[in-house]
């Protein structure tokens, strides 16, 4: 047993990246190490049929190489052991400074402080390099270091392995003879590591389940319709990625957790998004709205005390102690998603709908109003504003769909005007701001 996650770095990020490398295999886990609180040990019982990246991970986890491999994710800055700046990069080295050898992988999980990390394809184009790909590249180096098979130019086999993962994810392939790269954006070729509905996939038992496909359809209809929506979705996924892989892996191992999360969270959320899509994209279709409302109520399980669920979720959202009589499942969730309330996108996209749907159900209030209020609260103003024709198109889409009701549009308009003052004329043109009004 060889692979360890360093607690001095961002251990959640490392686990999430390993979960991507395993291709969302619930056999991935971790355990404490007796006598050493500085690390957690990675465990992995590979599910049959997983792809090559999972096979490599399985080998690394379950082979005793005699030399531990320790993974540390840092948000850029100095690697305190080598003294080098890791921003926009990843390192693998053998550390013998404490006596016994340790193979250390240190990598920047901030994507070069948010600017992105690029490499080159065979045509010299910049291609994106998500964090799991960076880690997998370094694990390739570590594998050969652990097995004594490091090559004179070890970048070529590492980049060949890296391309295996890029291929699995649909990302652009790297030129294995060009070992350069840097900070900045790059083409993804349509692939991504962050569109996995990890928890929904785990709850329903498949990345291709009907619920997952329905959720992706809802997502693509409303969020992928525009660039602004896509960026909002990407921001939500960045948040979601911080806490969802560990929950998903645990759900795959524990049917009780899986069933409870499916019933109190996944099904109500999918129904909520379905209703939001109706209101946002076909606001005049009353029949569709009635059907979607019925879908929300049908998704809320009977036999559960809605007041208790609503109270517990509100406490989690507010980062407050749970009610004394809260069920153990909420204790579990509160611990696992404690970061989420501080993440505006995850909070809006996941916690807020859950709180609203259960509160609305418990109080018998109007779910249509609740969804409309939730749409209005979308944190669009925290994104960079579009410009030129793109701005016009975005505002036209928002004004005709999600924010068709004038009062909703003007509530959003107040926030957009404060955050994007340079867009005032366009906001006025599309009815988000009233000239001379109380903005």
């Amino acid at each position: 047993m060889t692979l360890f996650i360093d607690q001095s770095g961002d251990s959640s990020a490392v686990f999430g990246d390993l979960y991507s490398i395993s291709r969302q295999d619930g056999g991935l886990g971790d355990s404490n190490v007796a006598g050493d609180p500085t690390v957690i040990q990675v465990t992995y019982i590979e599910t049959a049929g997983q792809p090559a990246t999972a096979d490599r991970l399985n080998t690394l986890v379950n082979t005793d190489f005699g030399t531990p491999i320790v993974l540390t994710a840092l948000p850029g800055g100095i690697d305190p052991y080598s003294g080098l700046d890791v921003t926009g990069n990843g390192f693998t080295y053998i550390d013998s400074t404490s006596g016994a050898d340790v193979i250390r992988i240190v990598y920047d999980d901030s994507q070069c402080v948010g600017s992105g990390i690029f490499m080159f394809d065979v045509d010299g184009n910049h291609i994106s390099t998500p964090n799991p790909v960076i880690l997998y590249h370094e694990l390739s180096h570590a594998f050969r270091a652990a097995t004594g098979t490091t090559q004179p130019n070890d970048e070529i086999p590492a980049e060949t392995d890296e391309n295996v993962m890029r291929s699995e994810l649909g990302l652009c392939l790297r030129d294995v003879n060009n070992h350069d790269g840097g900070c900045g954006s790059g083409d993804s070729c349509g692939g991504t590591t962050n569109n996995g509905c990890f928890i929904v996939s785990a709850a329903t038992g498949s990345r291709e389940s009907a619920v997952v496909l329905r959720l992706k359809l809802q997502r693509d209809r409303i969020f992928r319709a525009t660039d602004l929506g896509s960026r909002l979705m990407d921001a939500i996924y960045r948040d979601y990625y911080r806490f969802s892989p560990r929950i998903a892996a645990e759900m795959q191992k524990d049917p009780v957790i899986r069933d409870v999360v499916l019933s109190i969270a996944v099904r109500p959320l999918v129904a909520w998004y379905t209703l939001a899509n109706v209101l946002a994209l076909t606001p005049a279709d009353d029949a569709a709205a009635v059907e979607a409302v019925a879908g929300v109520w049908a998704a809320v399980p009977s036999g559960i005390e809605a007041q208790e669920v609503a109270a517990a979720l509100r406490s989690i959202q507010a980062s407050e102690p749970l009610p004394a009589d809260a069920s153990l499942i909420f204790v579990y969730l509160a611990e696992r998603i404690q970061q989420a309330p501080r993440m505006p996108f995850a909070s809006w996209a996941i916690l807020e709908p859950l709180v609203r749907v259960w509160t609305t159900y418990a109080s018998g209030s109007d779910v249509l109003e609740a969804v409309q209020a939730w749409l209005v609260a979308a944190p669009l103003e925290t994104l960079e504003p579009p410009a030129g024709q793109e701005l016009e198109d975005e505002l036209a889409f928002l004004a005709s769909g999600p924010f068709a009701p004038l009062n909703a549009r003007q509530q959003v308009g107040r926030r957009l005007l404060a955050a994007w003052p340079e867009t005032q004329i366009a906001l006025v043109r599309h009815g988000f701001v009233v000239v001379g009004g109380d903005q």
Partner: protein, 177 residues
């Protein structure tokens, strides 16, 4: 008239605060060190503009910045497996011109402390009250360019022998913004 670069001036700008969202993702603030570099020679020169390493001594207030090959600073006991050095970002400084290089520097310095386990042991110290800045700036009369397919040793050797390094210790003269 000199034929090289002169580190003429340095200023430190305060960081832009990170957003709540960035903080939740562990993004740390970056302050900006503006280094004015003067080319008093008759030919354009290509200077490295991306930081490769830095250090901060809180007891003296000295910030050390490497805009140069930093391989000499790797301590004994660390044997790199993956350290293919990338082509450094570079800026052209025309003859007789002065160019300001903006170097983002974290606001914390991680310093290794004695280890108690397999995990890294370090403390984070704020980089503040900077009294002086020691700058290592590598430059040449031609840009450093990639040669596709060159081995790690070839790349490292070329980087280390490329042009020359000017070093100076400057006192920050101003703090803007």
């Amino acid at each position: 008239m000199s034929n090289g670069l002169r580190l003429a001036n340095v200023a430190v700008r305060p960081p832009t605060p990170v957003t709540e969202e960035e903080a939740a993702h562990h993004v740390q603030e970056r302050q900006h060190v503006d280094i004015a570099v003067e080319n008093s020679g008759a030919n354009p020169l290509h200077a490295w503009s991306g930081m490769r390493a830095f250090a901060f001594d809180s007891s003296t207030g000295e910030l050390e910045i490497y805009l140069a090959d930093p391989s000499a600073i790797v301590p004994p006991g660390i044997e790199f497996v993956s350290d293919y050095p990338r082509v450094p970002p570079q800026v052209v400084i025309a003859a007789g011109a002065t160019v300001t290089i903006d170097v983002p520097v974290p606001t914390v310095m991680r310093r290794r402390v004695p280890s108690q386990g397999l995990g890294m042991s370090f403390v984070e110290e704020p980089i503040e009250n900077i009294q002086q800045i020691r700058i290592h700036l590598q430059y040449a009369d031609v840009p450093f360019q990639a040669i596709v397919g060159e081995s790690l040793e070839e790349r490292r050797s070329r980087l280390q022998s490329h042009g020359q390094v000017v070093e100076a210790v400057l006192t920050p003269t101003s703090s803007k913004e």
